[in-house]
Amino acid sequence: MSRWKTILIHGFLIFFTAMTLYPVLLVVRKSVTPGDNFERSLSPIPSRVTLDHYSEVIGSRDFNGRPLFWRIVLNSVVLSLATTLVGMFLASTSAYAFSRLRFPGRRMGLMMFLVVQMFPATLIMIPLYVILDKLGLLDSLVGLVLVYSTTAIPFCVWTLKGYFDTIPREIEEAAWIDGATRFQMFWRIVIPLSRPALAVTALFSFMTAWNEYILAETFLSRETSYTLPVMLQHYVGTHSTQWGKFAAGAVLVSIPVMALFYILQKHLVSGLTAGGVKG
């Protein structure tokens, strides 16, 4: 490769990387500079550094004076973990059946999981709103857990099925001859062998719940039942523009999920190409 071509390629890549990083850096800058609004400056380096926004976000309190931020973090963590657990349990069992067993309705079921991804959330949302309203579950996390895990299931089923398909059948046959039951084959052979795919689908379910905004915004109205996305949106909602607090909150919320994402991203790629995208 010629020298100029190399420089040109690096130039392109640096340009795009800068474009990618710049908005994020501005948010980070905002989170450590005082004031509610952005500065009229393009430099990503803050002129003055303060951690006020962070302490304000973390130290926020509800009407009764109890710490609000940690309450909301707890909401989000519980919500996301519950969603992941429920989603993983439901998805892995059915993906196993879809991958390994032949039964009438198999194709219909697989297709259903594909088509369900096309349901617009609003179509589900209105009935759910009505149903939850009637059940008096509007302001609770239970409803959201159920909704989130079912949103995550179709993707998880397809990804896991794609991965299960790559595990040689002979391994299970060997286990069968060795004396394993169907459940032991699933639990002691297939599940341990699918750890990468399970990690990816778990990440996906977790991200679904951790990042979901609109259903939470619609269904939750009490401050103490908010999730992190709703809290963040309220900083820059129609009536307020507290960009400083938003930025600090955004950094706090993004760090755990981005860390998870980067730990698992290698698998994410293979997981996606193995099953999810093939559809």
């Binding site: 040689p168 002979e170 391994i171 046959e173 001859i177 060795d178 004396g179 052979i189 341990p192 062998l193």
Partner: protein, 365 residues
């Protein structure tokens, strides 16, 4: 230890038949090799014994017990798979003991059996490794060890050596032979490799298109093939099959075999056949001569194999393979030669249908 018996077994997938009316008795303690080209149903037969495939019709017995509806884990069999099918997430020790643990065998007993198997297969040093850290031959040993520790009534092998290189294959083959000699347990072995079949088998079962072509001692199958398919499948290089016309005189009891450019007269014992046939003769049985012979031809290709030389001779009857001792090989490509068919080594088959052998009991002419 137990025998295995198929009685009129049929295996059908929705529309096509894989195995049609299989009848086979595998005596207790014998080493039986199912051999045939790919797609002949030999693997399916083996998997039916294992219980991995349902039986559509007929009965399968292991020992005295009809096992059609018995789960694999209750059949008391063990199987070695082509790709080993080791549990990748377990150590060798866990791989070996998995089946025993599932069967709730006491730990001390498990330990003893694993140690025995490891010793027998030379796996002691590798017990704490994962399969991914082992070479192909070692994995193969683990797969066999996993079957060994179970001490089953029947061992099943599904092309266990096909993923190994030629040298290792020979080694493992001898290992398996030694194992059988030591255990004297019934073993059923599937392969498409005739060398494995010839060397390992007490009883060789030649299969094609879901049917059994011939069952017998390997040497008998080689020297007295029941049909043209078996003759062509067993033996390397492949037997020469030449189209001929067979005429047997009523009075003289003399059979004339007439092919393109040659004619043989043989005294066949009680053979009454008129019509088209196939004459088979193994390349090692064909002789060449510079001056006299049954068929004139010209050397096309010469392939030295060390102490043997393989000639391909162009003749009016088609290409004829001829394998000679290196010391006799004095012809070069392009030389004119005479091909000699020793009368007593010729096989004769019907030209149509199942191409059954025309020679009666005793085989040779």
């Amino acid at each position: 230890m137990a025998s295995v018996e198929f009685r009129n077994v049929v295996k059908r997938y929705s529309d096509h038949t894989v195995i049609s009316k299989l009848n086979l008795f595998i005596p207790d303690g014998k080493f039986v090799v199912l051999v045939g080209p790919s797609g002949c149903g030999k693997s399916t037969t083996l998997r039916m014994i294992a219980g991995l495939e349902d039986i559509t019709e007929g009965d399968l017995f292991i020992g005295e017990r009809r096992v059609n509806d018995v789960l694999p884990r209750d059949r008391d069999i063990a199987m070695v798979f082509q790709n080993y099918a080791l549990y990748p997430h377990m150590t060798v020790r866990d791989n070996l003991s998995f089946g025993l643990r599932l069967r709730r065998i006491p730990p001390s007993e498990i330990e003893k059996r694993v140690a025995d198997a490891a010793e027998m297969l030379g796996l002691q040093e590798y017990l704490d490794r994962r399969p991914s850290q082992l070479s192909g031959g070692q994995r193969q040993r683990v797969a066999m060890g996993r079957a060994l520790v179970r001490r089953p009534q029947v061992f099943l092998f599904d092309e266990p050596l096909s993923n190994l290189d030629a040298k290792l294959r020979g080694e493992m083959r001898r290992e398996i032979a030694r194992l059988h000699h030591r255990l004297q347990t019934t073993m059923v072995y599937v392969t498409h490799d005739q060398v494995e079949a010839m060397t390992l088998a007490d009883i060789m079962v030649v299969m094609e298109k879901g049917r059994i072509r011939q069952v017998g001692n390997p040497m008998d199958v080689y020297s007295q093939p029941a049909d043209a398919f078996t003759a062509a499948f067993i033996g390397s290089p492949t037997i020469n099959l030449l189209p001929v016309e067979v005429r047997t005189g009523e009075v003289e009891r003399i059979t004339t075999i007439e092919g393109q450019g040659f004619s043989l007269q043989v005294t066949a014992r009680f053979m009454h056949y008129q019509g088209d046939g196939l004459m088979g003769i193994r390349p090692g049985d064909v002789r060449l001569s510079s001056d006299t012979g049954n068929l004139q031809g010209r050397i096309d290709v010469m392939e030295p194999l060390g102490h043997r030389v393989l000639y391909t001779v162009d003749t009016p009857a088609g290409s004829v393979l001829c394998e000679l001792d290196a010391s006799e090989a004095r012809w070069k490509p392009g030389d004119a030669v005479h091909v000699v068919f020793p009368m007593e080594l010729v096989h004769l088959f019907e030209a149509d249908g199942d191409q059954k052998s025309l020679l009666l009991e005793g085989g040779t002419i």
